[in-house]
Structure formats: structure tokens, C-alpha cells
């Protein structure tokens, strides 16, 4: 495995690390995995997940990977322009794909992302047919009647919950927010902006488009109070006729930032196995 620092673009370039397998271990020289930022964390990823995953894919799947910072995150300077962050993300991933195409003759891509990175992977896949696969950790999904039941039933049957609810209604118990929870004043703390979660119908339409195109999709859902059971994604988008191009993994005991070593290891292993399985078809 070999890593090198790469910058993409002449003015206000994007900074990233290209990681390629040893020459005798290359399984597919025309395909690469691009790893996208999660929220405001720089390209190494939550708990260094992107570094570990990028290297594991190069070593165990024989495929090149590129982890980079979107403009305004990590080591990439902010670019001035009129695009929204969502639009800019698509353009920047396409810029990276163009660059890798010219430099390494790579013309097929799998996009990986966690949370906002997953959202960017999904949107870019819709915009660009060079994307043959996405790996989305906590990607777009919505509640179903079953998830509502699973979420609210235990609460309805819990006397403690009822008491808490009553105390709040009476103003005797306050809901802690922001600095009261973190102990950190807002001005010293920066969190991702999740204001642009799209309507379910839009995502359903997007998934239909991607499904018709045969995009391979691996979704991993982590511990999340709104993702309650393994088949929730398929139930949520039951208008989309997924075939064997969809794989869903649910790890309900893992946190959203994958801070558990065992879950991190299992997720990396699952993604590497999935890429190994999909690569021969590309």
C-alpha cells in the first residue's frame, strides 16, 4: 500500500490522500472508492474511520481510495461562490472524479460517506453515472408505522416517562439543551448543519432512478432512536423494487460516530467484503 498527498484544482484546491494497493495486489485499476467528509470532521473521519477504511480497502480489496476535504473543511480552503453546500459537494466530488480519471485513468467510482457524507454520496450518484456504487452509513431514511410503534410503545407503557412528561408540561422539569448538556458555550462549539433533510418523496424518487440504473447500494444503519429495525429502510421505500443491488446492515448498539472499537472493526470488514463481492461485476 502506498499513500500520497494529492491536491485537486489549481485555485483553492481540495486536499486529500490517495491510497493505492501494491502493484501485485491490484484487483481493479479502473475503479476507486472516494471517501467523503462526515459533518465538520476533517478527512480522517470520525474516530479515524476513513483512514482505517481507506487503507483496508487498498490492502484487502486491492482498490485505490481517495479521502479528501470538501472546501471549507479540514485542510481545504473555503471557496467563494453562489452554490449551496449541497450543490458544491456534488461539484467537488465530480471534480475529484475528473482528476482521478485524467491522472489514473479511473472512470468508475464507489462513494462512501457517514451521515452528511452519505447524503452527498447519494446526491452525487444521482448526478453522475460514473458512480456505480454507494456505501452510506446512516444515510437518508424516514420513520415507518412500525418504527413509530417500536419507538413510542415502550414510552406509553412507562410510568417514569409519563411522570417526566407531566413535570415538563407543568414546567417543573426543564429540557436540557446546548450548553446545559455540553458545558460548552455555542460560540466555542461547531456542529454540522442538518437543516436540509429532503422530503421523503424526493429521496424515494432518487432511489428509483438509482435502482433503475442498477447502482449497488450498501446501507449501514447505526444506533439511532429513529432507525428501529433491520428492514426499516426497505419498508420506508417500499415503492422502490430493489433487487440484489441493495444490502442493508443494522448495528443498533453502535453510536452514530462509531466510537466502539468492535463495531468499527465489523463495519470496515463488512464494507471491504461488499466491495470485494461487487468489484468483479464492474
Amino acid at each position: 500500500m502506498r499513500e500520497r498527498v494529492v491536491t485537486v484544482g489549481d485555485h483553492l484546491p481540495l486536499v486529500g490522500i490517495f491510497c493505492e494497493p501494491d502493484a501485485d495486489r491490484v484487483s481493479d485499476s479502473k475503479t476507486a472508492v472516494i471517501l467523503l467528509n462526515s459533518g465538520v470532521i476533517h478527512r480522517v473521519g470520525s474516530c479515524r474511520l476513513s483512514v482505517s477504511l481507506g487503507r483496508a480497502l487498498a490492502e484487502h480489496a486491492g482498490i485505490a481510495t481517495f479521502r479528501f476535504d470538501f472546501s471549507g473543511i479540514g485542510d481545504s480552503d473555503a471557496r467563494r461562490g453562489t452554490l449551496t453546500a449541497n450543490q458544491a459537494a456534488i461539484e467537488e466530488v465530480q471534480e475529484v472524479m475528473d482528476y482521478l480519471g485524467k491522472w489514473k485513468k479511473i472512470d468508475r467510482f464507489i462513494l462512501y460517506g457517514l451521515c452528511s457524507g452519505a447524503f452527498a454520496a447519494y446526491r452525487t450518484a444521482i448526478a453522475d453515472e460514473r458512480v456505480l456504487g454507494t456505501v452510506q452509513l446512516d444515510g437518508y431514511c424516514y420513520t415507518t408505522w412500525k418504527s413509530h410503534m417500536m419507538h413510542y410503545s415502550p414510552r406509553l407503557l412507562s410510568p417514569t416517562r409519563w411522570l417526566t412528561w407531566l413535570l415538563r408540561k407543568l414546567g417543573l422539569r426543564k429540557v436540557k439543551k446546548g450548553v446545559e448538556v455540553s458545558g460548552i458555550e455555542e460560540q466555542f462549539f461547531e456542529v454540522p448543519d442538518f437543516a436540509s433533510y429532503p422530503p421523503k418523496e424526493d429521496v424515494q424518487q432518487g432511489l428509483k432512478t438509482l435502482n433503475d440504473r442498477g447502482l449497488d447500494m450498501l446501507y449501514v444503519f447505526l444506533g439511532n432512536e429513529h432507525y428501529k429495525y433491520h428492514k426499516q429502510f426497505e419498508d420506508c421505500f417500499d415503492d422502490v423494487s430493489f433487487k440484489d443491488n441493495l444490502t442493508v446492515i443494522h448495528r443498533p448498539n453502535a453510536t452514530h460516530i462509531l466510537s466502539e472499537p468492535e463495531d468499527r472493526r465489523r463495519v470496515i470488514e463488512a464494507i471491504t467484503d461488499w466491495v470485494n463481492e461487487k468489484l468483479p461485476a464492474y
Binding site: M1, R2, E3, R4, V5, V6, T7, H11, L12, P13, V15, I17, D22, S38, G39, V40, I41, H42, R43, V44, S46, C47, R48, V51, S52, R55, E59, G74, D75, D77, C115, S182, G183, I184, E185, Q187, F188, F189, E190, V191, P192, F194, N253, A254, T255, H256, I257, L258, S259, E260, P261, E262, D263, R264
Partner: protein, 289 residues
């Protein structure tokens, strides 16, 4: 994991580098340097405007603190470069974009990495002296590196970890406290490795920092020391009293209260701008000579 053939240590000018001339505010040269078996990611910010004969190496903290301070460390580097100081920030081996993982790594090796960074920066910027700025555990490591590298001209400690042993014990007790809650991210492995908020600290690393204490190291540091704090604590106050008689000692409280070990569920990062400003002002009005 195979290593990257990047040439021998300190021969970095032969290594392909990514140079970014972004705008007047931020010029960055990103590259790998150091020994091929433990290559290090470096981000060099060349001096702008005034030319000073002192450069600055920034020393990262450990674990989540590293992730959550990346933006602050980068901003500090940009601001110091604009004052005329060439600046190098880098990732220790087993962290960030540098080689390998932390298994089998000792804190002494991170001090060695600081030495590689000092040498690399001197080669790049052609300066005789290098100041070290360390954040949290990085401050303790920087103090140790100051004793081992004659080129170091001054030491700036930002919210320093004062006692290596207490630091390890603090992590260990946080893990123990989390066990009744069923935590799976705060655990102690059978070999003694501490897993804390998504990062691990192996036994060798724990042992190596456990004997380090700033009250032992700092009196032997023969260069000016500055202590910049984001909040007040008895530990900081005691260190300040201890160092106050040392020639060139400077201390400043730049209030930006926060908890370095608070981890939220969406990966929020810390942005203690008053501290960044205070360190910039310290370097703006003082020189090492």
C-alpha cells in the same frame, strides 16, 4: 501494513509535495516526511510578510481532542504564518493521516516524531531556531522534546496535561465509571489497552507518559515557557506558581470554557478562538531572543 517508500528521514526535499497557493490568507504545502516505516503527514505554512528567524512546530493532543482541535490548530498555523513565522503542523505516527495505528507505539516515539518535525521545518524554512506549541498532551510531549532538541527556542503550553500519570488515570477512571452504564466505547481490553471515545491508548504508551510531569520537566527547560489557558483550574494555578520564577515565563488566561473530553453524537468540534488569538498575540509581541 506496507510502508511508503518516501526516502530517508530529513531528505524530504526529494519527496513530491502538494503545494497550494490558495489566497493571501492561506498558503499550504502538504506532504509526507520522516522515516519510511513511520511516515508522517505534514502541513507546512510558509512565512508571509515579515521574515523571522524562528519557526514553529504545533504538537497535537490525543484522541478525540485531536479531531476536535484540527480546525483550531490549522487556524493558529495560518495566523502565525501571517506574522512571519514558518509553521509546521503534523500528525504523530499512528494518528491522522500518518502511518500505521497506535498499537505498539510509545509516547517516546511521538517525541521522536516531534524531533523529525523540527528537523524537517528547519530544512524547509532555513531557520536556526524552532518554537514548540503543544495542546493538552501535546504540551507534555513538547516539553519532553524541548529537552531533547537544542534547536528549540521556546515552549508554549496550551491547556497542558501537567501530569502524565494523572492523565492516564483520568481516562481509566472515566472508563471504569462508564461500565455500569454498559458503555461499549469506553472499555479496557484484556491486554490493558484503554479504549476511550473512539481512540485507543496501548499499555506501552500509558507506561511511557506515566513518568512524565511538567514540574519535573519544565525546570530543566532552558528556554522561555508560556502557559496559555482556556479556563482556570487548580492544576493550572499550581503550575503557574511553580514556573513563575523561571526566566521568561509568561502566563495568560484566555477564557473559552469547554470540556476537551465532551463528545457529542454528531461529531461537533471545538473552536476556542480567544486562545488562538492569545497565542497569536504572544508571538506577535515577543521574540525568542
Amino acid at each position: 501494513m506496507a510502508s511508503v517508500p518516501l526516502g530517508a528521514p530529513n531528505k524530504s526535499m526529494n519527496v513530491p509535495r502538494a503545494k497550494l497557493q490558495c489566497d493571501r490568507e492561506s498558503i499550504l504545502e502538504a506532504f509526507y516526511f520522516g522515516p519510511s516505516e513511520s511516515y508522517l503527514f505534514g502541513a507546512f505554512h510558509p512565512r508571509q510578510g515579515a521574515s523571522r528567524d524562528e519557526a514553529i512546530v504545533l504538537c497535537n493532543p490525543f484522541g478525540q481532542e485531536y479531531l476536535r482541535s484540527h480546525k483550531s490548530i490549522r487556524r493558529l498555523a495560518i495566523n502565525l504564518a501571517s506574522l512571519g513565522y514558518p509553521v509546521l503542523r503534523f500528525d504523530y505516527r499512528g494518528t491522522g493521516d500518518s502511518a500505521g495505528d497506535i498499537t505498539g507505539v510509545s509516547a517516546d516515539q511521538w517525541v521522536t516524531d516531534i524531533g523529525h518535525a523540527i528537523q524537517e521545518l528547519q530544512d524547509m524554512a532555513a531557520v536556526p531556531r524552532v518554537a514548540l506549541i503543544g495542546l493538552r498532551l501535546g504540551a507534555l510531549l513538547a516539553a519532553k522534546a524541548t529537552l531533547e532538541n537544542d534547536q528549540v527556542s521556546r515552549l508554549v503550553m496550551w491547556d497542558p496535561v501537567v501530569d502524565g500519570s494523572a492523565y492516564v488515570e483520568g481516562i481509566r477512571s472515566a472508563i471504569v465509571d462508564a461500565q455500569p452504564l454498559g458503555s461499549r466505547s469506553r472499555i479496557i481490553a484484556s491486554d490493558g489497552t484503554l479504549h476511550f471515545n473512539g481512540f485507543c491508548m496501548p499499555p506501552l504508551f500509558q507506561e511511557s507518559i506515566s513518568s512524565w510531569h511538567l514540574e519535573d520537566l519544565a525546570p530543566r527547560v532552558g528556554v522561555p515557557i508560556a502557559q496559555i489557558m482556556s479556563h482556570e483550574s487548580e492544576t493550572f494555578a499550581r503550575l503557574k506558581r511553580f514556573l513563575s520564577s523561571q526566566p521568561g515565563f509568561y502566563s495568560e488566561l484566555a477564557p473559552a470554557p469547554h470540556d476537551w473530553n465532551y463528545v457529542d453524537h454528531v461529531g461537533g468540534i471545538l473552536w476556542p478562538k480567544p486562545v488562538i488569538d492569545a497565542i497569536e498575540q504572544y508571538f506577535g509581541r515577543t521574540t525568542s531572543s
